[in-house]
Symmetry: C2
Subunit: 323 residues, 2 copies
């Protein structure tokens, strides 16, 4: 019987579910909007109903469901499958998610945070295939991270490892929401990125962005700044040069400490190709030790929006030793 | 039969050898000055003779020698036991140390760099006992590092992991010998530390150090600055506050990424107690994530100068699964 797992990607916007096979293929999908169902209890009910439906469908197709994996948007006690809280979904404080679902579903449930799940997905099925040591970063509003070391997700004893966004690259840098200064997130997190662009424009920088935002009513976003840079806007090109440089500094530190084979970049900011990657790779080459720099490749994530549910399913396969 | 291993600590000053048991006790010692024997070939001859003598002694005492472990002062290919070079001992470029010694001694030989060996020693027998995840730093002229993760030394695929001294904490910081800027080594390496103290004194800072160096002919060293700080010298106290703060920033980044249980500090700079540890722990508490900060303890190394040969012996025990 062909082995499959049910992957669940919990997000502030929606819960996504997929029936995923050992090759990382999504055989079936379902989803529901997080806000369409109010409160944790109802969300768990709907989630369980979707999972039950998948299990029934799998049985019809003679697929063997190994378990349910969940990628969750907040800090998790991975061993107990316990949710501390979700910053963007109210009502989930201190939820024994694994216990609750295992009781209902009579299937093994694995839970990990979304950044680790993304790292595992890319490692098993995406840009990290064929390696043993991968660092994966998700560049969004914040910067999430996951570490695969010697072929396994590394959590640290209290499951709080891989907070790569909060590596300090400039002690005198901007204040970070975490209370520190100059964390890499304060340079490449999209919120900080946009704030810095606006600050410089207000202080008189010349850029086509002024015209686009004032006359055409557009919002400053990393994507808009990328578009301006590609049109030759010097200000926007400089912004990307700096952003790539800052990220390169952080990756050089990571390469010196962990000597990874691949560093995989996902999320919106990472989708700007050479605007980000060129200055980043230059900084990495200059700032990392030669052996570390030579042995690492920095690549964009390969799985896109499916990484969450594929990686969640991969948690199950990894736990059962199916790979 | 009681198991022992022969630990060898190769240094620019001397080669130290110890017969070490499974509890990390040094049962016998021998050593020779590196410069008293000229050239790699002769150094290997003398080393092999000492090892042969230990093996004979062990046989008399009915001890079972599991092998020879070597801590080496330079980059190593750990799997092949291959020395790339030793910055402070000429003539060792591209030496297949493991192969050469195994042929001569008919015993298994393990080789690793001195920072990893120190980390392993402290993990098995010293300040890291009873944990699974340890970061060890040696604060000398440079800053060396070793990582024990999930109970094992972590090398990275090209054996270049744990170069913790070259984590950048300030992109705009001082130039580092490695080609980057603001590596933690440029703040806490003793060479940089002394240079910065001299620079500030020359620029007019008031300090008792001026009197001590001019009238009493003393050299500026971290130890001297520590002595001045303990005597209440405000300048020297500030220097240590800053040094501890910089190291704390680096350790906060490491704690956020690796979530260690212990961070162990060895080397001269680490022997200045609360002068270093107090500002360091304050910075770590402020800059690391609460979970990471709460779950880590920063402690001084416990094994002192024996860490090298004890850790070298531990390489052998670890390889044979004796622990």
């Amino acid at each position: 019987m062909k082995k499959v797992a049910i992957g669940v990607d919990i997000g502030g916007g929606s819960f996504k579910l997929g029936l995923v096979d050992l090759n990382g293929r999504v055989l079936a999908r379902e989803s529901f909007l997080t806000n369409s169902v109010s409160g944790r209890k109802a969300q768990l009910d709907v989630l369980a109903a979707h999972v039950a439906h998948f299990i029934k469908e799998a049985r019809k197709k003679a697929l063997r469901v190994r378990g349910v994996g969940i990628g969750a948007p907040g800090p998790i006690d991975v061993e107990r499958g316990f949710v501390y809280f979700f910053p963007n979904i109210p009502g989930w404080k201190d939820t024994p998610l694994k216990d609750l679902l295992e009781k209902r579903l009579k299937r093994p449930v694995s839970v990990d945070n979304d950044a680790n799940v993304m790292a595992l997905a890319e490692f098993e099925f995406g840009a990290g295939r064929g390696t043993k040591n991968v660092i994966a970063l998700t560049l969004g509003t914040g910067v999430g991270g996951g570490l695969v070391m010697d072929g396994r997700l590394f959590h640290g004893p209290r499951y709080s490892a891989a907070e790569i966004g909060h590596l300090v690259i400039n002690e005198d840098g901007p204040m970070c929401a975490c209370g520190s200064r100059g964390c890499v997130e304060t340079y490449v997190g999209s919120g900080y990125f946009v704030r810095e662009v606006k600050r410089r424009l207000k202080r008189g920088a010349k850029s086509i962005l002024k015209k686009w935002t004032k006359e055409n009513g557009k919002e400053i976003t990393p994507l808009l700044v990328a578009r301006a840079a590609r049109r030759g806007d010097a200000f926007s090109k400089e912004i990307w040069r700096e952003t790539g440089g800052h990220l390169g500094t952080a990756l050089a530190g990571l390469a010196n400490i962990l000597n990874p084979e691949k560093i995989i970049l996902g999320g919106g900011i990472a989708q700007n190709g050479s605007l980000l990657f060129k200055p980043l790779i230059a900084a990495l080459g200059k700032k990392a030790f030669p052996i570390a720099a030579r042995s690492v490749r920095v690549v964009p994530a390969a799985l896109g929006v499916d990484a969450g549910l594929i990686g969640a399913a991969a948690l199950v396969f990894a736990e059962h030793g199916d790979f």
